[in-house]
């Protein structure tokens, strides 16, 4: 009797111990989760705060902007946007220049890039690998190394401070990117489809345009977005190759830094307008972000 009661007692004790252990484990897990959330939210704050500050500051008056204790609650004003995009110092022409240069250079880069990518992906020839790597290396090279010769060349052919000077530059830089990424996309599609189309009497060109291209549509969209973002954001070449007529928005923005100080309100307004389309496209491209950012090295 007494022994069995002892066993039951021991079992109960054991159960209580297990429960306590479980409880302890759960508390620990909760603490770990809180820590994980704290880190994630801290990083979220670090990443988002500057962007938020651009937006908030763009809606402030100068007095609020230069206040030594930051003003967090205020009546928003659209004055900075009005000042930045109207009148004699309007940034609107620069925005239009940026838009035109971005669209044309991206279109050319994607078309020729898709062609070359297909050629490199589907045709075996001597030096294929070397040619592919050379194309990649043209994107990796530091732009400053090419700026002097390109400045001399573009000046010589009379394209300094025109849309075409920058279009040539951005097409070239984005072309290598498009080729490299799209080559990966073409290599991913099964070759059998194209082979059977050839048997069906398609010409090689038709196989490319009617079979292969439609299959890499997501890839085309991805490289178009990435190329556009590059051209839209690019600073160094635009700084050297443009003056008044074909200035793009990144160069226009630096114009707010004057001898009288920086016109922060207008800068923030233009800055916000300049990054907004990029942010939207980035969200649309989530799936291909890694592939695009690593030149297809990581999928």
């Amino acid at each position: 009797m007494s022994t069995s009661a002892g066993v039951i007692g021991a079992e109960k004790k054991n159960q209580a111990e297990v429960l306590r252990q479980l409880e302890k484990g759960r508390t620990r897990q909760i603490l770990v989760n809180i820590a994980l959330y704290a880190i994630a939210l801290g990083f979220l704050f670090f990443s988002l705060f500057p962007i938020l500050l651009i937006f908030l500051t763009s809606l402030k008056t100068d007095v609020q902007i230069f206040s030594e204790t930051p003003v967090w609650i205020f009546k928003p004003t659209m004055q900075n946007y009005k000042d930045a995009f109207t009148g004699a110092w309007s940034q609107l022409p620069f925005l239009i220049n940026s838009l035109i240069i971005t669209i044309i250079s991206t279109a050319i880069a994607v078309v020729f890039g898709a062609m070359a990518a297909y050629g490199l992906a589907r045709y075996e020839f001597k030096g294929n690998r070397d040619l592919s790597f050379w194309i990649l290396s043209t994107r990796m090279a530091p732009p400053i190394a090419f700026i002097v010769p390109m400045f001399v060349l573009i000046k010589a052919i009379g394209l300094l401070d025109t849309w075409w000077g920058l279009i040539i530059m951005y097409t070239g830089i984005n072309l290598s990117f498009c080729v490299w990424i799209l080559r990966g996309f073409f290599l991913d599609i099964p070759i059998e489809l194209e082979e059977s189309a050839l048997v069906d009497g398609y010409t090689r060109w038709q196989v490319f345009t009617k079979i292969a291209l439609p299959l890499v549509k997501p890839g085309l969209a991805a490289v178009a977005v990435f190329s556009s973002i590059f051209a839209w954001n690019e600073f160094l070449f635009a700084l050297i190759l443009t003056a008044q007529n074909s200035k793009t928005i990144p160069i226009g923005i630096t114009g707010f830094s004057t001898a009288m100080g920086i016109r922060w309100g207008q800068f923030m307004a233009v800055g916000f307008v300049a990054i907004l389309p990029v942010l939207i496209f980035t969200f649309l491209m989530q799936r291909y972000l890694v592939r695009g950012l690593t030149f297809g090295a990581v999928k």
Binding site: N33, L36, Y37, I39, A40, F43, L44, S47, L48, P50, I51, L53, I54, E68, P70, M115, A116, G119, R122, Y123, F125, T138, P142, I144, A145, F146, I147, V148, P149, V152, L153, T171, G172, L175, S176, V179, W205, F208, I229, W232, N233, F235, L236, L239, I253, T254, I262, F267, G271, A274, I275, L279, T282, Q286, V290, L293, T294, A297, V298, K299
Partner: protein, 300 residues
């Protein structure tokens, strides 16, 4: 029969040529031509502001000048300091955050999608917003430090703090890139490897050290290399935030070459510096590519 095979071979070659040649021509114009032009220019003295002195062959004189030019040597060391600190911090932070966001907790996925934003922000806007935040008088950073009792700092005009300030701005923009790619790498690791590790009785730490890290190494090497090559080009942040100052403490290679070419108009000398920069980048990337192939050979 033989003829038709021949014919098909010719059309095949012609199609390949038609596809590849336009791109090759454009890239030759935009890449090969400038390279050889710069190489040739680097052996000449040519000052655009003094055309009367003309275009004069000087052999290796520009290179000799470079190696005894304290400003050039300073810019090399400044660039290397920037690259080493910025890329290591970005990597370590990105690596850690990737593991945090890889947990299956609610909301982590949404956070991952949002924190990627800085990567795509126009660099010139990024540098100006940090310029604003670092302002000694009305910057939000000094204000926040003031709340915890730290006296205001002269971030961008201080010889010791200017470089760290640039690094902070770069870390802000590029840590999400590291995080994103490492996270993608983590998610692509096959499940069975972890099951095997569990069967073998490896602890969590052992699994991390002996399974996760080795499998991630190729991805890590690639993104670190990409970041190093990119950080080497640093120009925008310097141009807007510090213009190389104070006292040259943030003058990077790209910025110094820009000054030589477009403020002193010494195009020949600038070209020589650019060639030296290319050589430096090639050496660094070769080291990485060696590692990468060695790693691949070891795991294979």
């Amino acid at each position: 029969m033989a003829q038709s095979v021949n014919k098909s071979r010719t059309t095949k070659r012609n199609t390949a040529l038609a596809l590849i040649v336009p791109t090759s021509i454009i890239l030759a114009v935009i890449n090969l031509y400038p390279f050889f032009y710069a190489l040739n220019l680097s052996f000449h003295r040519w000052n655009m502001a003094r055309p009367a002195r003309g275009y004069e062959f000087v052999g290796l004189a520009n290179y000799a000048t470079a190696f005894s030019d304290p400003r050039f040597l300073n810019s090399v060391s400044r660039t290397i300091i920037f690259v080493v600190f910025a890329v290591s911090i970005e990597f370590l932070l990105g690596f850690g955050i990737a593991f945090v966001l890889n947990t299956n907790l609610k909301g982590m996925d949404l956070i991952r999608k949002i924190v990627i934003i800085p990567v795509m922000v126009m660099p010139i806007v990024a540098s100006l917003i940090w310029f604003y935040m670092f302002n000694q008088r009305y910057g939000v950073i000094n204000w926040a430090l003031g709340l915890i009792g730290v006296p205001p700092q002269a971030w961008l005009t201080s010889k010791t703090l200017a470089m760290p300030s640039l690094i902070i701005a770069d870390v802000w923009q590029w840590t999400p890139f590291m995080m994103l790619v490492i996270l993608a790498g983590l998610r692509s690791l096959p499940e069975y490897v972890y099951e095997a590790a569990q069967i073998d009785g490896l602890s969590k730490w052992q699994t991390f050290r002996r399974v996760t890290v080795p499998l991630l190494t190729p991805t890590i090497l690639i993104i670190v290399l990409l970041r190093i090559m990119d950080a080497f080009k640093l120009f925008d942040l310097v141009y807007t935030m510090t213009t190389g100052g104070p006292a040259g403490s943030t003058e990077t290679l790209s910025y110094y070459i820009y000054i030589q070419a477009f403020q002193f108009f010494e195009l020949g000398y600038a070209a020589a510096l650019a060639i030296l920069m290319l050589i430096l980048i090639i050496i660094i990337s070769q080291i990485f590519i060696r590692w990468l192939y060695k790693g691949e050979a070891a795991t294979a």
